[in-house]
Amino acid sequence: MRIRLDPWPIDTQDGQLTLEPFKGLVFNVESDDWRAIPTRGIPKRVTKVLVVDGKPRMEARLLLEDDAGNMSLAGFGAFVVGAVSLCPHGSRQAELVDVKARRVLAYSGDTLLEPTRLSPRNPHTGVLEYAPHAYAGAHVEGARSAVQSLMLNAERDFSRDLASEMPLDEADENALPETLVLQDGPVRVGEAGRAVIGYVKTLHTDYLGADRIGLLAQLGCGERTPILRFTVGDSGEADYRGREQRFTWYVRLCDAPFYQHPLAGVMRLEMHAPEDTDFVPRAVIDAANLSGALLTRLGSQLHKDARAPQNLIPTAALEHAMSRAMGSQELVTRRIRTHLARELREGVLA
């Protein structure tokens, strides 16, 4: 028996490695020769990479009571979606793009609520305004899910707006656009046709199977697997017709330390695949070819980030900026308490 360490800290929701078998079909589309492909470096024509991420936060659980005395659950929440814009060749300084907090009063029901405005006693310290958002259902975590869902939608829209159009031609050598978007997590429905690459930090699903997964441990830094294709949500049943198809490939960002499991430095990437085509568009192959060089450059180090190297340097900076944009949780909670105390005319609490 050999014991190896999962690299991610115990307080994250899951480990980096779970490897639940994917039940559906996964096809070789780039090559049947299942072996490591070295990176080709980052072409000069790619001048802008945007690393996009989002962050939700619940700020208070609420209980609403209407005039008839009916009770319902709700919550004050906030989320931020932002990006880091950088040049993959290092010719300019990286910048934060549009990191702004949005606040939501998520509630179940059909009643129309007014925005809630929490004015501070000190005018220098800004105003909190929660926009009402109704969701269906009465689940106890409904408000949290609603905020999460709003955040994901905003992230998707933001990525789509920032990304260039992705040509799906098979042979065009200049198909790769100048701007690429790296989005935290898998690509989403609604982003098809855009140059969005989703990066999945965890290996929770095994898309490879026993015959192919051995290559992951053999990948060198910056090397990748050939590109595969699968259908989202494929349950493996014979008559299943999935929603969308995805291209995917794996990249190694750095050598795994000897005490960690051998897939520790490996990350999975995803792009949208067009329906009913049996080839891989040239631009997707180019994106896969540059991904090794790009991600080894952006990968973090263990002494600076517990989720290194997968939690990319710009992503960690972005997470930090997003937390800051939402403000201090303690102060917000205090402001909410004070606001409610004033509303209920019971005096002001600290």
Partner: protein
């Protein structure tokens, strides 16, 4: 317009906002510098805050620290990722302000987020308390942004305070240069006239002020009346380097001219007797007057104590000196007839153990003492030889032989140095001509003592300062007299006593009420008598040794200034004055007067070829 200082109109855009991540107090706060703005040490800034009742409070202050750092990164090695363009980080640029004034005096802190502006025009004068100075403001140098620093003349002339003390490493800090600049500013800015006028004419104006400078190094100060040929070039260069709109003299509203109404005094060359009295100077011969004290004057005006700079070490010796001084005083009082010699009738030369040469015997008996060494021989006779070695009882006064011998031995020790200065062979006309006349002559008197030995320097400084002091005691504080004295640690050391130190202490403690202002300078204030340094209202510091800067004498400098004192360049000084609680860094212009012979503009501003043509015609 404050006094004679022209201050530009306010035109300041905002340069930052008060930080909320550092403590904000009424006396010190930080502000974040806005993008595109530039803030440097010594900039004067203003912040306006609003109280809850709507009233405004302004904070004026001085930037004493500026820093930049990467914001939003946690590790020092992140700088590599920032430069590589993969880690977004902003540069935080912040400055710390030491508050110099709060108006009105509501000592609340400014509000984080309040706007910070450069103080200009009227705000600058508020920051530096120039509005309180009124007509008493005179320029003490240029601030970093090219605006003049107002100094309060009422803290110079003794009205509210007096005396200036300058510290700094020799040669680098240019202490004497700054002292001369201040004199030039006082004499030419018109501040003396303005203050006199405002005081109802009780004080005399510019014409009333005088300065005495003791030249202790080379012949540097013997050319102060000559224009400096390098000034134009140096000032043009400084103007370009500092990006100033006008040359520095113009910014200070001071004329670029050498000192006028000057006199130069130097000791005579040794060895001369009779009429051949020439000043002991090597580089300048014309315009320098030799100074001599007559022997009769030496006795009558009790100068003997200044021959002994170390008399305070021995009580008995001090007693002997006092006694002999009194005897010589009576002797001088008893002299009749013209001349500067002393006629004594009780000197039986043949009883002296050593018979002096070239004694002059009077027509009616008695001996004419015409030289300092003859005076010493006479004293030896009176103390040690008369009465078969018992001495004259009235002169000895039961003092031990050892003490008397110590007295005469010390006199012999300085005989060589003082003989050229104290003479009894002059006519009264000559004595009058060569008597150093510091208070009725020119506005600026330079007394060259650099060629004198240590004891002779002490003697001259002591005698002349006492004379000034006594004169001012008689005539009061009209006509302010500025005394510039370098190497104060030599004349008024902290640990030893001397008659000169006593005079300097008198000047420091009582002089300001009499209108005698000491502009003292030294390398190390920690070695100067504490009471002299602590009496100076205006304190100036040039470059200091960093260990020296940590001594208690420099506590008036905030820590950041003490650290900077080690890197100050020539021409830059830190000036502290009572009106402004923090010191201010200033630079001052290159001297318009020659400070060395090779700086003298003897071509009158013309090219050498043109002057040569004139000679050939």
């Amino acid at each position: 317009m404050t006094g004679n200082l022209k201050l530009s109109a306010p035109n300041a855009a905002h340069i930052g906002r008060v930080l909320g991540t550092e403590d904000v107090t009424p006396t010190i706060f930080w502000f974040a510098v806005s993008a595109g703005a530039s803030v440097q040490l010594d900039d004067l800034v203003v912040v306006e805050t609003q109280r809850p009742d709507g009233k405004k409070v302004s904070f004026y202050g001085l930037v004493d620290n500026v820093r930049k750092r990467h914001e939003g990164v946690a590790f020092e090695s992140d700088v590599e990722d920032v430069v590589a363009g993969i880690l977004p980080a902003s540069v935080s640029y912040a400055a710390r302000v030491l508050v110099t004034r709060v108006d009105p005096e509501n000592f609340i802190p400014p509000q984080p987020g309040d706007t910070v502006r450069h103080a200009q025009g009227a705000e600058l004068s508020m920051a530096l308390s120039a509005d309180k100075m009124g007509e008493a403001a005179f320029p003490g140098g240029l601030l970093a942004d090219g605006q003049p620093l107002p100094l309060n003349f009422r803290f110079v002339n003794g009205e509210s305070g007096g005396h200036i003390n300058i510290s700094g490493i020799s040669g680098v800090a240019t202490k004497t240069s700054y002292a001369l600049f201040l004199l030039h500013s006082i004499f030419t800015s018109g501040v003396m006239d303005q203050v006199a006028q405002a005081s109802g004419g009780q004080l005399a104006g510019t014409a009333g002020g005088r300065a005495i400078i003791f030249n202790v190094k080379g012949e540097d100060l013997l050319f102060l009346d000559k224009p400096n040929k390098k000034v134009e070039e140096k000032e043009a260069k400084a103007q370009a380097e500092k990006g100033l709109g006008r040359e520095r003299y113009a910014l200070l509203n001071l004329p670029r001219q050498p000192f006028k109404d000057t006199q130069f005094l130097a000791p005579p060359r040794a060895g001369g007797r009779g009429d051949a009295i020439v000043p002991h100077t090597d580089q300048r011969s014309e315009g320098v007057t030799p100074f001599i004290f007559s022997l009769r004057e030496f006795c009558a005006r009790r100068m003997l104590q200044y021959v002994f700079s170390d008399s305070a070490g021995s009580l008995n010796l001090g007693y002997v000196i006092g006694n002999i001084e009194e005897k010589l005083f009576r002797l001088a009082q008893a002299q009749q007839g013209p001349g500067t010699h002393l006629l004594v009738t009780d000197w039986k030369v043949e009883e002296s153990s050593e018979v002096p040469e070239e004694l002059d015997f009077g027509d009616l008996g008695g001996i004419q003492i015409q030289t300092f060494d003859h005076l010493i021989s006479y004293l030896e006779y009176k103390l040690l030889d008369e009465n078969d070695g018992q001495g004259d009882k009235k002169w000895v006064l039961n003092q031990a032989q050892g003490t008397l011998r110590a007295f005469t031995r010390r006199l012999r020790g300085v005989q060589k140095h003082l003989t050229p200065l104290i003479r009894g062979d002059l006519t009264e006309t000559q004595a009058e001509k060569y008597r150093p006349n510091l208070l009725r002559g020119a506005q600026l008197s330079v007394v060259d003592i650099h060629n004198l030995s240590g004891p002779a320097q002490m003697f001259v400084v002591g005698v002349l300062l006492r004379e000034v002091f006594e004169h001012k005691e008689r005539y009061g504080r009209q006509d302010t007299v500025f005394v510039v004295l370098d190497e104060l640690n030599k004349y008024a050391p902290r640990d030893d006593g001397s008659p000169i130190k006593d005079v300097l202490l008198e000047i420091a403690e009582r002089g300001r009420s009499l209108g005698i202002i000491l502009i003292g300078a030294q390398q190390t204030a920690s070695e100067v008598e504490r009471r002299i340094v602590s009496n100076a209202a205006i304190r100036v510091v040039g470059r200091l040794d960093l260990a020296e800067a940590e001594r208690p004498e420099y506590r008036f400098l905030p820590q950041s200034f003490r650290s900077r004192a080690g890197i100050l360049q020539p021409g830059t000084m830190l000036v502290s004055q009572p009106d402004v609680p923090n010191p201010v860094l200033v630079n001052y212009p290159f001297p318009a007067w020659a400070t060395r012979k090779d700086e003298v503009d003897d071509l009158g501003g013309r090219k050498a070829e043109d002057v040569g043509d004139d000679w050939l015609r």
